[in-house]
C-alpha cells in the first residue's frame, strides 16, 4: 500500500497546532462560558482587576513610545555609523530576547533593591523603584527593547542611503531628510516593531513579578493578576482576564498580519 505522506504531514501539523494553540484557547473560552459571562464581567469590573488592566495599558504604551523612539535612533546608529565595538553592541541589544525575564528582574534587584548599588542615593531622594511603578517600567522597557530596533534596522539595510543622499543634494536639512524620506521608507518596519513591542509588553510576567512584586491594586499587572487570581482560586477572574489578554493579543496579531500582507507600493 502507498503511504499517503502528504496527508500524514498535514494531519501531524494540524494536530500539533490544535493541541498547542486551539485547545487551550477554546478551554479558556468554554471555562468563561461555564462560569457565565456576566459573573466574569462582574469580576473584571472590580477595582483590583481594573487597576491591573490600566497598569498594563500604561506600561504597554510607555514601552511602545519609548522603545519606538529609541529603536529608531539605535537602528540608525547601528546601521549607518561605523565605530569600534559596533558588532558587540549589535549583539548585546538582542540580549533581552534570550535572557530569562526572571533573571532580568533579579539583576535589576541587585541594582535598585535592598543592599543594591543604588539603594542609598535612591533612599536619599526618597524614590522607590522596586515594588513600585518605576520598577515595572524598567522591567517592561528591558524586555521590549530589541523589537523596534531589529525591525527598523532590517529595513534600513534594505533601503540603503541613496534616497537620503538625493534629498541632501536637493538641499534638505537632516531633519527634513529624516521626516520626508527616511521615516516614510522605514514606516512598515516601524509599525511591525511597534506591534511586536506591544504584544511583548502585554504578556510580560517574570520581570514585572520580580521587580514589581505584584502588589494587588498597586503593582499588579494583567498577567500577575491572573497568577494571583489562580493562586486564590478566583477562577472566574483569572479566566476572564486571560480571555481579555488573548483577545487583545489576537487583535494585535491580526494587525501585524495586515501590515505584512503584500500590497502595492506607492
Amino acid at each position: 500500500m502507498r503511504i499517503p505522506w502528504r496527508l500524514l504531514l498535514f494531519v501531524t501539523v494540524i494536530g500539533y497546532l490544535g493541541a498547542l494553540i486551539l485547545v487551550p484557547i477554546s478551554a479558556i473560552i468554554l471555562r468563561v462560558a461555564d462560569a457565565g459571562f456576566a459573573t466574569v464581567l462582574a469580576q473584571l469590573g472590580k477595582s483590583e482587576a481594573l487597576h491591573a488592566m490600566k497598569l498594563t495599558a500604561i506600561l504597554s504604551t510607555l514601552a511602545v513610545v519609548i522603545n519606538g523612539l529609541f529603536g529608531i535612533m539605535a537602528a540608525l546608529v547601528l546601521v549607518r555609523q561605523r565605530f569600534w565595538g559596533r558588532k558587540l553592541l549589535d549583539t548585546i541589544v538582542d540580549l533581552p530576547l534570550t535572557v530569562s525575564p526572571v533573571m532580568t528582574g533579579l539583576a535589576f534587584l541587585l541594582i535598585f533593591g535592598r543592599a543594591g548599588w543604588l539603594e542609598a542615593p535612591l533612599e536619599a531622594a526618597n524614590w522607590k523603584v522596586t515594588f513600585a511603578f518605576p520598577g515595572l517600567v524598567i522591567a517592561t522597557l528591558f524586555v521590549t527593547l530589541p523589537f523596534t530596533l531589529r525591525e527598523v534596522a532590517g529595513v534600513l539595510v534594505e533601503v540603503g542611503t541613496t534616497d537620503e543622499e538625493a534629498a541632501v543634494t536637493l538641499g534638505a536639512s537632516p531633519w527634513q531628510t529624516f521626516w520626508n524620506v527616511t521615516l516614510p521608507n522605514i514606516k512598515h518596519g516601524l509599525a511591525c516593531g511597534v506591534t511586536l513591542t506591544l504584544a511583548r509588553a502585554l504578556g510580560e510576567f517574570g520581570a514585572v513579578l520580580i521587580l514589581g512584586g505584584a502588589i494587588s491594586g498597586k503593582t499588579q499587572t494583567a498577567t500577575t493578576f491572573i497568577y494571583a487570581a489562580t493562586e486564590e482560586r478566583k477562577e472566574g477572574a483569572a479566566f476572564g482576564m486571560a480571555l481579555l489578554l488573548a483577545v487583545v493579543s489576537m487583535v494585535v496579531l491580526g494587525f501585524l498580519e495586515w501590515l505584512k500582507a503584500p500590497r502595492k507600493e506607492n
Binding site: D163, E165, A166, T169, L170, G171, N185
Partner: protein, 344 residues
C-alpha cells in the same frame, strides 16, 4: 558654472579609488567621465557633490573652493543610477522636493514643476507614482527633480545604465538636445564608450583612479594617449616589435613608426578599420580564416605570414571584399597605426 578639481585623491583603506586627478570643465560644457567599472569615476562625482570627502586635493565650483560646504549647500544637481526617486511621493512631489525644502512658495513650486514636466516631456503625469512609470520616464523625473532648484552644475552617475538598449539610445539623444537648450554645465559618468562619444563635447578617460586622457571624442579615437585608452575605446590589433630606421616589421608587414627611438621595443596598435585586406593570387602577406558579416559591416579574421592574427573590418558592400573567402591569400595595407613604448 565651471568645475575644477585639483589633485584629488580618495583612498578606501589601502585602495586608491581616486589617485591625484585634476581637470577643469568650462561653463556650459557637457563632459563624460569614461572608464571601466570600479575605476573611480563615480567617486569623483560624489566628491564634487559633497557626498564623499576627499583625502587630498580640492573641488572648485565657479572658481570658489567648496570643500567646506556641506552637500546640501553646494547647489549641485545629482542624478543617481537607479533614479532614487521617493517612492511614496508623486512625480509632482518628487520634482517639487528641492523647492519645498528651501521654502519656495506653493504657487511657484507648481509653476516650476509644470515647466519642468514640459521640458522633460512628461506633461500630465505629475499625479503618478514612480512605480507607475517606465524606466526611461523615471530617469526623466530624476533629471527634472535635480534641475528644479536650478543647480549650478549637473552631475549624472551612469544615467542610462538601468534602462534597456533602445530607450538608452533615445535618452542619449534627448539629453544632448536638452543640454543644447539649457547649457547647464554637465558631467556624467559612463562605462559605455558609445554613450560618451555620442553625447559629450569632451571625454575624460579614467582608469584605476587616474586620468588617462582628456579630449574631444575624435582626439581620443584617433590619438589615444596610452595603450589602455586605445584598447578601451574600440577593438585593436596589437603587435610587439622593435623600431628600425623609423619602421617596424610585423610578419611580412612593414609599418612606418613616428616619434619612437631606434631599437626601442614598441607595441603597435592598429584598429580593424585602419586595415585594408584584398585578395591576391600571388604569395600575399596573410591568409583569411573567417569572413563574418555583422549587420552593416563585415569582419575578416586572418593570419599574417609570421603567425600573428589580424582582424579587419569593412563596410558590407566594400569593393575590397570582392573574392575574399576562407583560405584565400590576402594583400595587407595599414592606413593608420599608433606605437606605444613597451614598459618593462
Amino acid at each position: 558654472m565651471t568645475i575644477r578639481i585639483d589633485n584629488l585623491t580618495k583612498r578606501f583603506g589601502e585602495f586608491a579609488a581616486v589617485d591625484n586627478v585634476s581637470f577643469e570643465i568650462a561653463d556650459g560644457e557637457l563632459v563624460a567621465l569614461l572608464g571601466p567599472s570600479g575605476g573611480g569615476k563615480s567617486t569623483i562625482l560624489r566628491i564634487i557633490a559633497g557626498l564623499e570627502d576627499a583625502d587630498a586635493g580640492y573641488v572648485e565650483l565657479g572658481g570658489e573652493r567648496v570643500d567646506h560646504l556641506h552637500a546640501r549647500l553646494r547647489q549641485v544637481g545629482f542624478v543617481f543610477q537607479h533614479y532614487a526617486l521617493f517612492k511614496h511621493m508623486t512625480v509632482g512631489e518628487n520634482i517639487a522636493f528641492g523647492l519645498k525644502v528651501q521654502g519656495v512658495e506653493r504657487a511657484e513650486q507648481r509653476r516650476r514643476v509644470n515647466e519642468l514636466l514640459g521640458l522633460v516631456g512628461l506633461k500630465g503625469l505629475d499625479g503618478r507614482f514612480p512605480h507607475q512609470l517606465s524606466g526611461g520616464q523615471r530617469q526623466r523625473v530624476a533629471l527634472a527633480r535635480a534641475l528644479a532648484p536650478q543647480p549650478r552644475v549637473l552631475l549624472l552617475d551612469e544615467p542610462f545604465g538601468a534602462v534597456d538598449a533602445k530607450v538608452r539610445e533615445e535618452l542619449r539623444r534627448w539629453l544632448r538636445r536638452l543640454h543644447d537648450e539649457l547649457h547647464a554645465t554637465t558631467l556624467f559618468v559612463t562605462h559605455d564608450q558609445e554613450e560618451a562619444f555620442s553625447v559629450a563635447d569632451r571625454v575624460l578617460i579614467i582608469n584605476k583612479g587616474r586620468l588617462e586622457q582628456q579630449g574631444t571624442p575624435l582626439e581620443i579615437l584617433d590619438e589615444p594617449a596610452t595603450e589602455f585608452v586605445a584598447r578601451f575605446v574600440g577593438e585593436v590589433n596589437t603587435y610587439d616589435t622593435v623600431v628600425h630606421g623609423g619602421r617596424a616589421l610585423v610578419g611580412g608587414l612593414d609599418v612606418p613608426v613616428l616619434h619612437q627611438q631606434d631599437n626601442a621595443a614598441i607595441r603597435l596598435v592598429i584598429r580593424p578599420y585602419d586595415i585594408k585586406l584584398f585578395r591576391v593570387e600571388t604569395e600575399g602577406l596573410a591568409t583569411a580564416n573567417r569572413v563574418l558579416p555583422i549587420g552593416d559591416r563585415v569582419r575578416v579574421e586572418a593570419t599574417l605570414h609570421g603567425g600573428q592574427p589580424i582582424v579587419a573590418q569593412f563596410p558590407r558592400r566594400s569593393s575590397l571584399l570582392r573574392g575574399v573567402e576562407v583560405g584565400c591569400r590576402l594583400g595587407v595595407e595599414i592606413t593608420h597605426s599608433r606605437a606605444y613604448p613597451v614598459v618593462q
